[in-house]
Amino acid sequence: MKDELNTSYAELHKVRVTYANGDGVEQATLSIAPGEFVFLVGPSGAGKTTVLKTLYLELRPSEGHVRVGSYHSLFSKTRDIPYVRRSIGIVFQDFRLFTDRDVFDNLAFVLEVLGKSRKEIKRRVLRVLADVGLSHLARKRPQELSGGEQQRVALARAIVNEPRLLLADEPTGNLDPETADYMMRLLQRINERGASVLMATHNYEMVKRYQGRVVFIRNGQISG
């Protein structure tokens, strides 16, 4: 365990999270090393999103513990959570983009939270938009974009703060094969720059085409 603490950036240890309907995860153990790419593969309802939510500290385990960076669910305080989340990038399954702001401001918000200067915000946002190939859509509202473009904006927002851990929930779920492949290459590029990536997906066939450790989840149990 001590070795794990030293080598992993994030981990779940014998975690139990149960919803009111009895679903959830049981004895879930998973560690993600710095710079590692991990696929969390399982069918719908297996508990993938629950694992991700536990890692970005939206759900609190009733048993076991979760650790992300310096945060430890048994020892850290609730008020530390926002600061831990600043080192995490999250690509939500439903994107969760701000529809009353344009693409630029969606990304800028994350940097506003970090207290960056206007100049720094502009520099970083434009760079990340260029990385995901969306510079030309900077002043568009999310609802004016296609599903694939929205997914890329969601990814851009997740990486604009240069996170150490990127959590992506079915980032290719609703995309055509070509756009899904583009998205995968973006995720791998982010991983190559040093960020750990945990990608939840139900598509094992697609996973086989890319490099990364594969972890399976079924009925709330993690294996592999």
Binding site: P82, Y83, V84, R85, D100, E112, V113
Partner: protein, 282 residues
Amino acid sequence: MRLSYLVKTCAMHFKRAWLSSLFSVFTIMFLLVLLGFFGLLWINLQQLVHSLSSQVQIHAYLSDGLLESQIEPLRSRLQQVAGVARVTFISKADAAAAFQHEFGKELFSLMDENPLPASFVVDVQESYRTETGIRGVAERIQAEPGVEEAVSHYKTLRLLNRYADAASRINLFLFLFVAAGSLLLVANNIRLVIGSQKERIDTMRLVGATASFIRAPLIVEGVVQGLLGGVLALLVLHWIYSMIGGLLSGFQLQGMEKGGLLIAAGGVLGLLGGCIGIKRYL
């Protein structure tokens, strides 16, 4: 947090719930106009009471049979009465001259002799210029031998004091009413903003926004609503004041210099309303 972000976010919230925000601003304005109006009424009544009480004098009318030699000792005795500041003698001739000056000579030409009594006009010390103070001094003067009757207009003072007290009580009630109303309005507006942005606020939290980062624009919004309400209330009161001032010739209305307090009250109520709204709904 950058100021431009704060301003932009507040403007966005205002745009999102503009009808409710405008309703809050105008209702706060209306409530503050009520508060300000009665506040100014109270200030002016106090001023009137103060001004009239400084003018209130006691007229001590002397008995007709009083000898010339008794007048000076009586003046000395009156001067010694507690609360008396100054005593001025008005002879029968002086009284007649004043009467003739005011009403003309015709009335006197019909009479054989001057019917007006000699009197002392007594100015009262400032600390005695209250209804009870003046009445006490008048009673002590009345008790002096040689004084037929001591007359003062303390009843007018009593009436004004009553009005001022009533205005003060109305003001306190209105202040509580305005405070409760404003707090409720601002808090409700924040509830609407929070309700319409629940998912957005959740997302803010998930990208690392602290509670204070999410709350600050909402609180500022409450303060801005209160301040705007205060400024508009001041403008309306100014207009009402100029209308009333035009009707009341010879009386200088006061209190508008304290108008800043109304704006400050709006701001404080907005701040408290914002805090309550956030505590209850966020």
